[in-house]
Amino acid sequence: MNKLRYIVVVIFSLFALNMSFAQEEHGEDVNAGEIVMEHISDSYEWHITKIGGTDIVIPLPVILYSHNSGWHVFSSHHLYPAGKEHEGFRIATEGDYEGKIVETNANGEEVRPIDISITKTVLALLINCLILVLIILGCARWYRNKKPEDPAPKGFVGFMEMFIMMVENDVIKACIGKEYKRYSPYLLTAFFFIFINNIMGIIPIFPGGANVTGNIAVTFVLALCTFIAVNVFGNKEYWKEILWPEVPTWLKFPVPIMPAIELFGIFTKPFALMIRLFANIMAGHSAILALTSIIFVTVSMGVVVNSLMTGVSFLFIIFMDCMEILVAFIQAYVFTMLSSVFIGLSRQEHAE
């Protein structure tokens, strides 16, 4: 009962806060779609929050290689507000390259330089990688100078050990079979990489909150790794199944229908992995943001409606956040499991 009372108090205080906000922001048009898009796409600065009229922003390094003028490295605050030009570069506000850094070439056309800037997503990615490496190597450090006779670890290391062994035994070993040891480091890395990025994406403030695994470039690299693991280490049986499957001859001889389908399948499998992870995480972020936007969109509808909708949206956000935590785990699990299944299929012996 006590906990319930706390929750009620929190919700009411939020109502109050919201009303004061509502009065303050009254008259400003809130474009929810824009907010969502702005969040899930990348940017050259990390916008943390807005207090009063000032934005709190972390400027990030811009690293460019232009075919005309060579390498450029500068802070991104020179480029904001969008459209401001610095060293011949600016952020495009419209057209194909909207939101990206462009330069104007000799013909007066907008072109993209080679852009390896540390954007918001890249920074979040690097931070998450650092966290992941620290966690896992920290756990591995515990095992140094330990013998099998020593008691099992307790606390966080024990939890991580259980987590790692759960993934290895229930997913990797179960799906690949006896050759699992060779692939287990990659699959474990993929699992924990996706998991930590998903979880960090749910945390709303810096250094979390960036949409890393909901970005197609990130999932593309992960799917590419699985593609390599499946096809480079596939055995003879696997390639025979693709190029000369056991189907009636007319399906594969004059016109190679089945081999074509199988070859296509090689690419659709990792493609499905890529799209599944990307879409799930992106959709989760969008849903949470859209629900949060309800509060601000309904401001213009009056205090009563706004307060009511705030409560509704608050409950929905809690629900969505809980679900996203679940999704964070499930997507990492599914990616690892399907990768394991594909690898297992590429290593299978001929089954009669």
Binding site: L126, C129, P148, A152, V221
Partner: protein, 166 residues
């Protein structure tokens, strides 16, 4: 559609970061942890087997000890009875020997006594003979002073001889 187009810069960083993370974790992270866990599992399995074996051995040892104890008991009673028998035997033998020895000693003593006695008798006889001769001499010397007595004597002796002849 920009969402579906992988951005080259991010692609580059992601590839780099993931490769580095993969290298680090695959080299220094996961294999160490999983290896240790598997080793520990093996150790536990082995310990269980060893413990069972030890238990079995302990049970065997116990049974063995009991059997040894029982055997020892048996041996003890056997030795005790044997000892009793031996003791009896020795005692009876000793008794017999003592008896024989006693008899022998007795016999010897008897023989000795007999021999002594005969010796003494012989001695006495000799003495008696000497004495009798002496006495006879004295008697004869006295009695044969006169003629008549001598004649009497001779006559009586002669008679006696005759008598003994008849």
């Amino acid at each position: 559609m920009s969402l579906l187009m992988p951005d080259s810069g991010l692609l580059f960083w992601m590839l780099l970061a993931f490769c580095v993370v993969f290298f680090l974790l695959a080299k220094f992270g996961f294999p160490i942890i999983t290896k240790m866990v598997n080793e520990r599992k093996e150790y536990i399995d082995q310990s269980l087997v060893t413990a069972r074996e030890a238990n079995e051995q302990l049970a065997n040892l116990k049974a063995e000890g009991e059997s040894i104890l029982a055997k020892a008991h048996e041996e003890q009673t056997r030795i005790l009875t044997e000892a009793a028998k031996t003791r009896e035997h020795i005692v009876s033998e000793a008794k017999e020997q003592a008896k024989i020895e006693g008899n022998r000693l007795l016999e010897e003593a008897k023989k000795q006594i007999l021999a002594e006695k005969e010796d003494a008798i012989r001695d006495i006889r000799r003495q008696v003979a000497v004495l009798s001769v002496d006495i006879a001499e004295k008697v004869l010397r006295k009695n044969l002073d006169d003629e008549s007595k001598q004649t009497d004597m001779i006559e009586r002796l002669l008679d006696e001889v005759n008598l003994s002849k008849n």
